[in-house]
Amino acid sequence: MTGERPIGEDDLQAFVDGRLSASQRESVRAYLADHPAAATQVEREIEQRDALRARLAFKAQEPIPSRLRVANLLAARRRTPLIRPAAFAAALAWLVIGGGLGAWGGIWWSARAYRQADAMTVADNAIAAHRIYVSERLHPVEVPGDQEAHLVQWLSRRVGKPLTAPNLNAQGYRLIGGRLLPDSGEAAALFMYENAGGSRLTLYARSRENESETSFRFEEQDGVSACSWIDNGLSYVVTAKADRAQLLPIAEAIYKQLEAAGDPAKSRL
């Protein structure tokens, strides 16, 4: 390779990406033959690039969902001119490039932000259900807690996912029963608990299409607090007339129990 410029890191990257001309490629090959460490590095990087492509290929092969068809987007636009101008303005305001947030948190949070609207709906429905049924004296539940097995089986079947009624004895609450509710055209389950003082707490659960996880989301509406999260394809909302410090430990306890129940290997431990 006399008379040629030395091989640098950029050449190696372009080699990994297959973006070199035939003669450049030959130069890099010759260089790698003399530099085994670089050769190993390049080999790994090609493998990892290919692995990443292979792992993600399925997404590009999926049929395009109808809501992303350009014709539908154009039609929607004609119906409602200037969709969400505020959102676009906000997006524009943030055009600054940067980022530096931790990757993991970034994935979580961005998914969260995009699902926030939906999550809010579920939480709102759960809070509404809480308000209506918790104050009910005669018929707070459809199936009482002493028929727990039947209740859980029934609600699981209707919601379409295996549910568990967590045991909250340690938190001072006992299951008094549950009921089936409609939520945006789907079935949702409501479990109700009561403590010795007569305070009631509800756990709302409905199925989510995609298996995903989110962190806890807390909100308070007129004295009622709700803590929601998504796990294992289910959206959960714990609601009680309590403050954040009281509700969070309960939500965590529920989360842990459901997590264990969702993983048979773990629950046997």
Binding site: Q48, L95, G99, G100, A103, W104, S110, A113, Y114, S212
Partner: protein, 168 residues
């Protein structure tokens, strides 16, 4: 109108793939793609001459970064630590260990490194296009690419930087 559709539609699979790789959530990813397309359509006339693909990826990434920043103005995370022992969702059975790990490795990288690996390595954007999407000079693209690959390699070999929240 038909022109817009015929130009945009072939690019949607790539946008969905990039969005999914960033967000790892099908619905959220398609929300992002939808926002991207709506924005592209609404600004169609302001599109500069040049690369439509790079322009779309630029919009999408900016919207994504915007959503990252919204964490600061939206609700406060609480009790996140209880998720420390969340099982990572298992990949499909056909995804053997190597394939599964590469996504874990990707997750362990900062966004700008993830994006460069995805845009160049998966979406096959040219280095110039990647520079446009990321808003950095070409030289930065190359050095960032090199760093990102080194870090991914390191992760795959040593599991370092494996600070995924999985304290068990």
């Amino acid at each position: 109108m038909d022109e817009i559709a015929s130009l945009l539609e072939p690019l949607i699979p790539g946008l969905r793939r990039y969005a999914w790789a960033l967000l790892r959530d099908g619905e959220a990813a398609d929300d992002l793609v939808q926002d991207t397309l709506e924005r592209a359509i609404s600004r169609w006339n302001q599109r500069r001459d040049g690369d439509l693909r790079a322009w779309l990826f630029t919009i999408q990434r900016n919207l994504f970064i915007n959503s990252l920043r919204q964490r600061k103005v939206r609700g406060t995370p609480v009790g996140e630590e209880v998720l420390n022992d969340v099982q990572s969702p298992d990949m499909s059975p056909e995804g053997h260990a190597g394939l599964r790990d590469v996504l874990k490795g990707l997750e362990a990288l900062p966004e700008e490194q993830r994006s460069i690996l995805l845009l160049v390595g998966v979406e096959d954007l040219s280095y110039e296009q990647a520079a446009q999407v990321l808003g950095v000079p070409l030289g930065t693209v190359m050095s960032r690419l090199s760093r990102a690959r080194a870090r991914l390699r390191d992760f795959m070999e040593h599991g370092r930087g494996a600070a995924l929240r999985r304290v068990k």
